[in-house]
């Protein structure tokens, strides 16, 4: 059967091959501000950090099954340094938000995120986590996790193919590599010169939790 080249509207084909942009950016950024000793230490630390990102086991629906498949036999994200998933947010470096987030789940997700130790990253997996996906019009679905969490990488798809997830996770590794651990260029304090600044939209009133028994 002859296959037509699928028409993808929003992303030009060349973009897919353009994996090097972030790395180029990294080099440029580092050229300007590398302090010889601290810069080298940063390199070593970031090399280590980016290659041992452990994710939280967090899946609410369909995308979560694909996430499991990425961790299992054929795709095996351990090859790229995502060695294991952790069941406790205290031990996790990143949270892969795989699946629809509903109104009832939103405060739980937020709390899980708050429980993670810095530095921490958020990856939005699939249409639901990005914008509400197929359930955008529903009365009980949060239209995108970026309304409550700062998202670092978006992986589109419904569900994204395992290769797409791996690609997204590797983009996150690149992002980790351009962070500075030492000096005043800390991610939280001075993030102006870091590209892809995480977006935080806080139109949601966040009140401290009062229900101590349930914790």
């Amino acid at each position: 059967m002859e296959m037509k080249k699928p028409a993808i509207k929003s992303i030009p084909y060349e973009e897919f091959k353009d994996n090097e942009t972030l790395e180029k950016l990294l080099n440029e950024l580092n050229k300007e501000r590398t302090n010889v000793i601290v810069g080298k230490l940063d390199d070593i630390i970031n090399w280590g950090r980016s290659n041992s990102l452990w994710s939280l086991t967090f899946a609410t629906s369909c995308c979560g099954i694909e996430f499991m498949a990425v961790g299992a036999a054929r795709y095996d994200f351990a090859r790229f340094g995502f060695e294991v998933t952790r069941n406790s947010p205290r031990q996790a470096d990143l949270i892969m938000v795989a699946g629809t987030i509903t109104h009832k789940m939103a405060p739980v997700l937020k709390r899980l995120y708050d429980q993670m130790a810095e530095p921490k990253y958020v990856v939005a997996v699939g249409g639901c986590a990005i914008s509400g996906g197929p359930f955008k019009g529903s009365y009980h679905v949060l239209n995108g996790v970026d309304k409550i969490l700062p998202v670092d990488v978006y992986i589109p798809g419904c569900p994204p193919r395992p290769e797409a997830m791996l690609y997204g996770m590797m983009q996150l590794q690149r992002k980790v590599k351009i962070e500075n651990f030492f000096g005043d260029k800390n991610r939280k304090h001075n993030s102006n010169d870091i590209p892809n600044e995480p977006i935080i939209v806080t139109n949601v009133p966040i009140t401290p939790n009062e229900n101590s028994e349930e914790q």
Partner: protein, 521 residues
């Protein structure tokens, strides 16, 4: 099928008679909003020994304070079904012991499936504060100046001095986002309170605004491990309503795909059950073999997990030329692997110790709770829709309905392993005989279902999946209801877990094999 409308005053007596005369399986309770005519519910019943099916309905004209007598003492599963109807329609079930919302937060305003529900975001914004369970209260305490004042401590009204622990919604062993609140006495479970709704996506309400082909896309995302079967059910229901005859070729393709999906789901079940009990190797093995099915799916349908394959009047694309060869190869491969699972997991002493005799669900309870699928069959209930009400090609193929007797975790596990063999057997009978012909019949560009009520059910990967449509002759349904496969299973957990040890919760939850988005819809 049109339901038998019962006057609300005779309702209770009529249902009692029905229960006494052998209607022992309550398939579903469908909440309804008939607008001017009031709110109500449709009950779908079945007699498991004769196979007789019946629908009854009751209506209540008071829209402000609607109330219907409960039936949860007649059929245990009604306890959760009625809470669902209360949540969505605000119908109060008189005599229900625990009338709370099931899916939405306690502070939710309104009942979403009512036709007059106000969807304004401002009324129900995203609330980021924690939800306080309804059964806790702030006690009065004697302050130092001898005044009574409300303390800021929360105490638990229902459970008294038992120890309460919370499992989920984010817990790897709940297979998604289900939440249990357990009352423990030492290690023993005294009471379990199930909180659903963490993945309630409002599919039924959304469907009321969508056209039928659009709704099809949502069924795949209910129970993504029964994607084909779910969609098959809805297509079947619509075809039945519109009187569309589908071709033999379609029937063959659908049946084969359903069975491949079942194997896929059971392999995932095996993997996850094993991982919950700590056997990572089996997890890897299961996923390795599952990928082989996903390859076939991907080649034919373009999707791995969510395939969007069935469509009204047929299937989206024809099968590929080497489909039969690939499937046969897979069947051969899979047969050889079953022994491997047995060696590494099923016959393992730890597995046997943790599963045999644990979490017993009796035959009567299985029916009363409506636990269909592998769970029911492990308790000895022959509940397979493929045998009870054959559809597609299931009356033409020869296969065994796997039935075990004990109803414990081990039996529930074995049922699924054996079903893999039966599914392969079904596929092998069909794969060489796929007739030539169209894979899809032409339908009208705009699908309208004639006025009336229609239902259809199929055997999903984990039980009976049903679709109910009430149509007013429009492009979109007036009400569409999916019978969840998982809700009866979690309802039965209450029974299974009573007196069990907390560590057994994991084995029991794993072998019940529920998928949460299917429960929450």
């Amino acid at each position: 099928m049109n339901p038998e409308f019962i006057d609300i005053n005779d309702f209770r007596a009529r249902m009692e008679t029905l229960r006494r005369t052998g209607m022992n399986f309550l398939r579903d309770i469908i909440g309804m909003d008939w607008g001017e005519e009031g709110l109500g519910a449709i009950y779908s019943l079945e007699n498991t020994s004769t196979g007789q099916v019946l629908q009854t309905a009751v209506r209540c004209c008071d829209r402000e304070k609607p109330s219907i007598p409960t039936v949860c003492d007649l059929w245990s599963v009604a306890e959760l079904y009625e809470r669902e109807v209360y949540d969505f329609f605000g119908i109060h079930f008189a005599g229900h012991p625990d009338m709370r919302r099931l899916y939405l937060r306690n502070d939710w305003v309104g009942h979403p499936l009512r036709k007059d529900y106000n969807e304004d975001e401002a009324i129900n914004p995203i609330r980021m504060e924690n939800e306080i369970p309804e059964d806790v209260q702030r006690p009065y305490e004697l302050a130092e100046d001898a005044e009574m004042e409300i303390s800021d401590k929360l105490t638990n009204k229902i459970h008294g001095d038992q120890y309460i622990i919370n499992i989920g919604p984010q817990h790897p062993a709940t297979h998604g986002v289900l939440r249990f609140r357990l009352a423990l006495d030492g290690e023993e479970i005294r009471k379990i309170d199930i909180h659903c709704g963490y993945i309630h996506r409002g599919i039924e309400k959304m469907s009321e605004k969508m056209t039928y082909p659009q709704i099809l896309a949502l069924t795949d995302r209910l129970d993504y491990l029964s994607a084909h079967q779910n969609r098959h059910a809805l297509c079947m229901c619509i075809e039945k309503a519109m009187g569309i005859e589908i071709t033999d070729r379609t029937q063959y393709i659908r049946t084969i795909m359903d069975e491949l999906q079942r194997i896929d789901s059971h392999l995932l079940f095996l993997s996850c059950a094993a991982m919950d009990l700590g056997a990572i190797t089996t997890f890897i093995y299961g996923f390795r073999d599952r990928e082989k099915i996903l390859d076939i799916f991907e080649e034919v349908t373009g999707g791995r997990l969510i395939q969007n394959y069935n469509t009204i009047g047929g299937v989206q694309y024809d099968i590929t030329p080497d489909f039969a060869k690939k499937v046969k190869e897979f069947c051969q491969y899979q047969k050889g692997k079953l022994q491997e699972y047995n060696d590494v997991f099923t016959n393992n002493i730890i597995t046997r110790k943790r599963m045999i005799g644990v979490g017993i669900l009796s035959y009567d309870d299985a029916i009363s709770y409506g636990c269909t699928g592998g769970t029911g069959r492990a308790s000895g209930w022959a509940c397979d829709v493929r045998k009870r009400h054959p559809y597609a090609l299931y009356d033409k193929v020869d296969f065994k309905e796997i039935i075990y007797k004990n109803g414990d975790c081990y039996d529930r596990f074995l049922v699924r392993l054996d079903e893999i063999v039966e599914s392969i057997h079904i596929i092998e009978q069909l794969i060489d005989n796929i007739p030539e012909g169209d894979y899809k019949v032409k339908t009208k560009p705009i699908i309208r279902i004639p006025e009336g009520r229609y239902s259809a059910s199929v055997e999903g990967s984990r039980g009976e999946f049903g679709v109910f449509i009430e149509s007013k002759g429009d492009k979109s349904p007036y009400r569409i209801k999916f019978r969840p496969m998982g809700l009866p299973l979690v309802a039965a957990m209450h029974k299974i877990l009573k007196g069990a040890k907390i560590a057994d919760l994991i084995a029991i939850g794993a072998t019940l094999d529920y998928v949460i988005p299917d429960i929450d819809r």
